[in-house]
Assembly symmetry: C2
Homo-oligomer: 418 residues x 2
């Protein structure tokens, strides 16, 4: 019997009515002959509410305790979903991460999954029950509660689906699927029917909020297709799958905006081998994820090292950087007003002219590009946050993403190749 | 180094300010050279709020899931208390029941503690940390979350104190101690400085909300003194201790009102040996706690069996009773408007006239007594709920409980002996 793992995010379980709707979906899937596992997030704004509570007590609470606190959000949801299922006549059982042995490392608030013991889930599925698992959380070997970071419920979804060898995992959310850009910012954004893991990885790490990159990496590694779809209708959403040849015909699949970026600039850094390594090793040890890095050197053998980070990590980074500056005799400047606009598409590997088209669109609108980074399948520009949303709309239009993709042949005729 | 276990009830941790106050108390005790364990309840109205959520989903949710839900309330508090302690410079660590191996049976919503593995608590205490444990909850051998019933945090308190061999357990609450009656109902109620476990047991089972009888039983069994005191001042509260001779001089120590009682009356029950046993065996199997029982028989070999239960158990009892009626051919009547007023004192064992004085007080006020039950140290009268509060005040006055207790010698002179 095939297993379907269904994940319902915070807005899809925000109140009793939506919890019942999620339960109904699970029952429908169960009745179609699948074994069903549900992975659920905390209801609506619960996590933010819990964070508020913590901040009333401490500006910088111990992370172990923060995880102990935040994990309650999902525990509330799993029990309510199980109640809803039972109330509708299904048989159901809820599990916290600890109860199913979803073991992580001990990096609190950003833990990584080490192993999942699926025996308990299988037992319950084989007994005919729908199993509800708390997303976003894990436990360390010694039993401390951990959380997987914002969006970690998607990591739970894919990890559990992979561990169970599920046929598909379904990500129910408040949008219809992955769009060519965030439809809240770009009104003519269009749903993408199929997208490759690689493109989704780029989009996710560039700010597309629907799926976290760790979730997509997991899915890619274990080749689990993810169906991103709406919890409020039954339309097909976006399938995230392994890359196929036909995908290369689309030069740019989507555009994204990451609008909560900070930049740390270290001036007067000794220009010696090993210094950059030391800086980024120290940051990595403090679990600060560094985005892009730029280094320049003047004639006095002093360098300027600049890097971007998530705005949320700025507080942690300030502490680490203060220590580094002391040790290296450099001076730090912190900027918290940046955003990054990007375009992504596997077709870029084989087509030219993409970068130029993007830069021109921004230049025509007099948007200053503060930094450029590229990969095989993406181009990103760092800009001021105040221009982020406008830049996204401009770039989206520049690549005609609001229209159904043209075939490459036609595009070439029109001279859009690099 | 002696261990002090401090319990803070829901009102004593209702917001960030009170959580900080509780943390401050713990730090003071720690600085006086004690090892400190804190047992905490859910904040303020959290448990009621969670119950509301559950009821929006299901009128009668599966109890396993209800426990999974309710246990989150205490988990929120422990993490916030740990944060507050760390913020104030102390070292602290929080534990759920699962994390310290507080194992119960699997009677969900009313579980009983089977064992506590205190190694983890001791390790942390010896490392200089203040340990915060979630009250009210446990886990089964297989890892399901259980709860110990309303007021179960006090059971946690005493059980943990007993397991650790603590010197004293302190029960911080929103009242100054145990009173001669509930001060919210009886304005001239007086704080009792010392009370025996037996008296407290009677008072607790008769409706004195401060301590649950299971907590006092535990304390009695392991001879752990409980200090019931206010979280908002440093006054001495009430010490609950083993009975001493001097206590017998006080005829009546306190009066109590249990005002949420229901009565189930089974009419036309076959008057045969074993029928009553069957009825109460069935109820016990359904974990319905039966309070008082009355049985009468008519000339047609049919009996009427009547018993009182907590109003909260009425829904469960209705189901069980429906089955019984079908099997026995009897008819059930349910009443939900009853209350019980009681007086308690170890001095009753050796003194007379107590019952008469109580009945007269109620009779003079034209309060109809629907049933009377007694033990060695208590007398209870079942009355209509609408007269409950007035009855409590009358009885309290009848025994002069608002005044400092007279010595028995003097009382005898005044002719108050039985």
């Amino acid at each position: 019997m095939s297993i379907v793992v269904m994940k319902f995010g915070g807005t899809s379980v925000a109140d009793a009515g939506r919890i019942r709707a999620a339960a109904r979906r699970a029952i429908q899937t169960h009745r179609r002959g699948h074994q069903v596992v549900m992975v659920v997030s905390a209801m609506g704004e619960t996590t933010d509410h819990l964070l508020d509570l913590a901040r009333q007590i401490s500006p910088d609470p111990p992370k172990r305790e923060l995880d102990q606190l935040l994990a309650t959000g999902e525990q509330v949801t799993i029990s309510l979903v199980a109640m809803a299922l039972e109330e509708m006549g299904a048989r159901a059982i809820s599990f916290t991460a600890g109860q199913i042995g979803l073991v992580t490392d001990d990096i609190h608030t950003k833990a990584r999954i080490k192993s999942i013991d699926v025996r308990r889930i299988r037992e319950q599925l084989d007994a005919g029950r729908i199993v509800i698992v708390a997303g976003f959380q894990g436990v360390t070997e010694s039993g401390a509660v951990t959380t997987l970071g914002r969006g970690g419920s998607n990591v739970s979804l894919v990890a559990i689906a992979a561990a169970l060898g599920a046929e598909v995992c379904e990500n129910y959310t408040d949008v219809d699927g992955i769009h060519t850009a965030d439809p809240r910012i770009v009104p003519n954004a269009r749903k993408i029917p199929r997208i490759s893991y690689d493109e989704m990885l780029e989009l996710a790490s560039l700010g597309a909020a629907v799926l976290q990159n760790r979730a997509v990496e997991f899915a890619n590694k274990y080749n689990v297709p993810i169906h991103v779809r709406s919890s409020s209708n039954t339309k097909q959403g976006t399938m995230i799958v392994a890359e196929t040849e036909s995908m290369e015909r689309i030069v740019v699949s989507g555009a994204a905006l990451k609008d909560k970026l900070a930049r740390v600039t270290l001036r007067n850094v000794p220009d010696q081998p090993g210094v950059a390594a030391r800086i980024f090793h120290t940051l990595a040890n403090a679990h600060t994820v560094v985005d892009d890095i730029i280094q320049t050197t003047d004639q006095h053998k002093r360098a300027t090292v600049s890097f971007t980070i998530d705005l949320a990590d700025l507080l942690d980074a300030r502490k680490v950087v203060a220590g580094l500056c002391k040790a290296l005799g450099c001076k730090a400047v912190f900027e918290d007003h940046l955003a990054k606009v990007s375009v992504v598409g596997v077709g870029m590997r084989t087509h030219t002219g993409v970068a130029e088209r993007m830069f021109s669109a921004l230049a025509r609108a007099r948007i200053n590009i503060q930094n450029i980074t590229t990969s095989e399948i993406k181009i990103s520009c760092l800009i001021d946050r105040s221009q982020g949303r406008r830049a996204l709309r401009l770039v989206h239009d520049a690549f005609d993403l609001g229209r159904k993709p043209k075939s490459v042949k036609k595009a070439r005729k029109e001279g859009s190749g690099r």
